[in-house]
Amino acid sequence: MAINVRNITKSFRNEEMERLSILRNISFQIENQEFVSFVGPSGCGKSTLLRIIAGFLKADEGAVEIDGKEIEGPGKDRLMVFQDYVLFPWKSVWNNIALGLKLGKNDKEYVKSRVAWAIDMVGLNGFEKSYPHQLSGGMKQRVAIARALVMEPKILLMDEPFGALDSFTRMRLQDELVRMCDKKEFTTCLVTHDCEEAVYLSDRILVFTDSPAQIRDVVCVDLPRPRKRTDPRFIQLKDEVQELVMETWKNEKERLS
């Protein structure tokens, strides 16, 4: 499904009740089945933007449209994969993954076959009866991804999903994500701090300025998949994105001094 973000503005109140502008008049479109990353300095508001698209937060102004229809709240067409997994500690892996289908009152046999498919997809066979606290961070995130995929979302929203993982686990999960997205079943928005990750996964990268966030630049990644991290063009694109992010930091410093 295509996402149309129209003139989104959002501010929060801090403890002294001052208004802090987080997002200012942001507009962009994401095409059906496109993979788009949001990159920018930490605290710039890209996660806030993702939460607005998910429907967890309401924008002060502007709207988010999915295939031309304005969203009114969270929905199972747009599923989020959180950085800190957000699994249910009292549910086994199987039950965590099956939860969404069970809530929708699906037929038991259907739930069983879908969950088996999802567990297979993320490679968690044999861990169905484990509880989240028994799993490593990477495996917890696999559960969270399976929990989303099992419901066949049209849009997958990922908020720094691999940020808390070690670099080997991160690379493996990135590869698996590429494989899953390759089937062209959903549109993906990824918030990340990792420029290499953004270039490795995305079709397009939106680079945000520091808060109030605005779109600084858009980088199109025109490399065929699977991509090689050592490819000169890959490194060039990564440096370009990095440079853009660092520049927004520099501007910030100049503004402060």
Partner: protein, 261 residues
Amino acid sequence: MKGKIKPFLQGCLAIAALVGLWALASKTGIFGKMDPEDAELLLPMPQVVCEEFWELLKSGYLLSNIWVSMKRVLVGFGIAVLIGLPLGIFMGMSVTVRNFIYPLVRFFSPIPGVAWVPLAILWFGLGDRAAIFIIVMGSLSPIIINSLQGVLNVDRSLYDALHMMEANGWQVVYHCIVPSIVPYVISGFRLGLGFAWRVVIAAEMVGVPKGLGYVLSVGRNTANTSVTIITIISLGIIMMLMEEVLFRVLENRTSKWKQWE
């Protein structure tokens, strides 16, 4: 298994030491402070108390009174749970409900359960109903407050996860709130049940007939020290057994995932 035997033996040793000290105090007239014959009256020897214990058990007097108190506690505590648990959950879920009820809870919770005895006897007469009313009043607030605290401490991102899966209100309660608050509710129940016993003993001592507190006050009025000591020992045993039966079961059920805390 070895790891369990050692603490058990140490516990037994502590009890044996206490009984030894008790026997010594009784024998020496509270360490020479009084005539040993008077001491027999104030603090009878352990074996005398044991014999009396056995007599009371055999006659059924002790057990029937324990049963009377136990029934009052269980019914009163059960009613307190039926009122307090849903109320605490609703207060946690709705700010409006919380704003209405919380001042009342804060007002009533510091009032000791025994303070309700005169009113309870006036309203319900001398009997089970008065005792049950007092127990409900005495054990309600820890149950409400702990359930409320549990709901307020639910991981908010779990709500997000459920909302994006389009869960309805009841599903949020069932899949998220109820399992989250179990540890809080257990400690609320513990406190509530403790209060319930304290209150029922006090109420039975000051007026409500029959029950363990009544046995205690009869023991006092007839200067029968053995009976009062026996009552105290029985109470200790009952509390320990209740703890094992009620809470061990609940905690075992949640131990599978509890390590996450």
